[in-house]
Amino acid sequence: MTDWAQVLDELVRVRGQALVRHAYLLTGDVADAEDLVQDAIVATFARRSRVRSAEAVEGYVRRAILTTYIDGYRRRRRWRDVAHLFARPDEARGHDGSVDDRADVVAALGTLAPRVRACVVLRFYDDLTVADIAAELGLSDGAVKRYLSDGVRALGAVLGPVRDDDETHTVLERTTR
């Protein structure tokens, strides 16, 4: 087995499902998430002449997931095209804070523009800081804050009041002055 094949095997075995879960929040569809992860892994391993370890390459795969998702969004926008049919602001339920249905959350995420959605997932699922998100996506800190602000506001419109975090609160306060 070649070096990269060994790393590939380890990456998939140890981190494969985590990568798919991460991708699922972006795509809103499990099959699409699995395809997205596979594409990202293939692109990463095909492009890089040396692949040292699963830990080292996971970061590249995650970036490839993000760029493939955002870049390819235009070609795979079917979900977003129909998302409003599943969750419209005037039909949002769970204002008592009982929103726990996966379909609701994913449908709400589906109303977000791809970059906004990526920022929300990186912040609230992967727990990255604004600065880290900016680095991941090649954006400025200000742009990330704006996207997070927009995302939180849009999710709140669909899901009801949502509690985010201090960092995003700061963003909201700053951007609404």
Partner: protein, 393 residues
């Protein structure tokens, strides 16, 4: 009472029990793509070696004879049309059916094959860099679609005079994107002449770049797709840069399409591109396309960003191949589209590769449009973006 976003997203994702990605399938695709990349590199090296050998022989001959260097007439005789030539082969008249009756489909009715060229890599060789992408016209590519490798061609007067040496191969799963409905993409060098005089240099002039690619849908229907048709201006064996050209001379031929562009210029995020020198800058663009009249603007778009100085002369040419085109190949629907994703692009001064001098530059995006459902060929749109201020660095 409100809901915590962290908890919401975790509960949505962590409750999943997705299938583990198929390692064996991925391994095969990785090996195949690595092989293609290695083959492309080898082809570049061979082309370069051939060009160097010819150049050395020519220089040696001149020096040996002691004659002054004078322009040499081209030793290449371009092939003429060959009756019954198979699609994609030398002498094929673009669009003609093959001997086996397999029709060539340039209608873009179901699939569209986008083709674009770039200047060769640095150091320059004698190849034209070609990128192709296969899209579904009205929908994503069907699951299980099989395809061959694309064959790229340069034509003159509608006849193939140069083509890729790479075998199209058998129909097969040639891209991971096939299975999730994206696009099937390739990038490879086009050896300058494989018709008639191998390794010789194409005569300077304007050629058209085309590609064919075989596809087979799940129902077994086979089609040979034809795409491209854009001009490639060859000078000294390579596509010419547009350095020094007045921006007013940029081609424009699609007046029914409104296009607006936003051009960005800034630091290249080194952590995203570890192989690129950190001190370089990047240039990128997003473009919006809309119909000017009630006419579909659906098609395959590719774009290039240019910067012009105060006199209107182009000083930065987005066809620099180091990181690829500024705007890649993108399908857009009938009603238009926007927010084309940007791609980092070096913006060093064309011609000598030096950094742009500090100052304010005008930015332009040229979009090549291959209309869906239209006649094969390329139209051009030009949009001016915001001024780009280049500071001292």
């Amino acid at each position: 009472m409100s809901t915590d976003l962290h908890d919401l997203l975790r509960s949505a994702a962590d409750g999943l029990d997705p299938e583990m990605p198929d390692v064996s399938a991925m391994s095969g695709r990785i090996r195949r793509r690595r092989a293609v990349r290695a083959g492309a590199t080898t082809a570049c090296v061979l082309a370069l070696a051939g060009a160097l050998a010819i150049t050395a022989a020519e220089l040696g001959g001149v020096q040996h004879r002691g004659e002054p260097a004078v322009p040499r007439p081209s030793a290449v005789t371009l092939p003429t049309a060959v009756a019954g030539a198979e699609p994609g082969t030398c002498g094929w008249e673009v669009g003609a059916a093959g001997a086996d009756g397999l029709e060539v489909d340039g209608s873009d009715a179901t699939y569209q094959l986008g083709v674009q060229s770039a200047r060769p890599s640095d150091p320059p060789d004698t190849a034209v860099r070609v990128e192709t992408q296969l899209f579904g016209t009205a929908a994503t590519l069907p699951r299980g679609l099989r395809s061959t490798y694309p064959t790229a061609m340069l034509t003159r007067d509608g006849v193939v005079v140069a083509r890729t040496e790479m075998d199209a191969g058998a129909l097969g799963e040639t891209s991971p994107a096939t299975d999730h409905g994206g696009a099937i993409s390739y990038g490879f060098p086009l050896a300058p002449v494989t018709c008639g005089a191998a390794s010789s240099q194409l005569p300077d002039g304007t050629y058209q770049l085309w590609a064919v690619q075989g596809v087979e849908a799940g129902d077994g229907e086979r089609t040979l797709l034809l795409g491209g048709g854009g001009d490639v201006n060859i000078v000294a064996g390579s596509p010419a840069a547009t350095c020094g050209m007045p921006v007013g001379d940029l081609p424009r031929s699609a007046p029914d399409v409104d296009v607006t562009a936003h051009v960005y210029y800034g630091d290249l995020p080194a952590d995203l591109f570890p192989d690129i020198e950190n001190d370089r800058r990047w240039l990128a663009a997003s473009v919006s396309v809309a119909p000017d009249q009630e006419q579909s603007v659906a098609g395959n778009y590719s774009g290039t960003v240019y910067l012009a100085d105060a006199s209107g002369r182009i000083v930065a040419d987005g066809t620099d191949p180091t990181l690829g085109q500024v705007v890649g190949l993108y399908p857009i629907g009938a009603a238009g589209g926007s927010d084309l994703v940007t791609t980092p692009q070096l913006s060093n001064r064309c011609g000598d590769g030096e950094k742009l001098a500090p100052g304010t530059y005008r930015s332009f995006v040229v979009l090549d449009l291959d209309r869906a459902g239209g006649a094969p060929g390329i139209e051009h749109l030009v949009a001016e973006g915001a001024r780009v201020v280049v500071g001292a660095s």
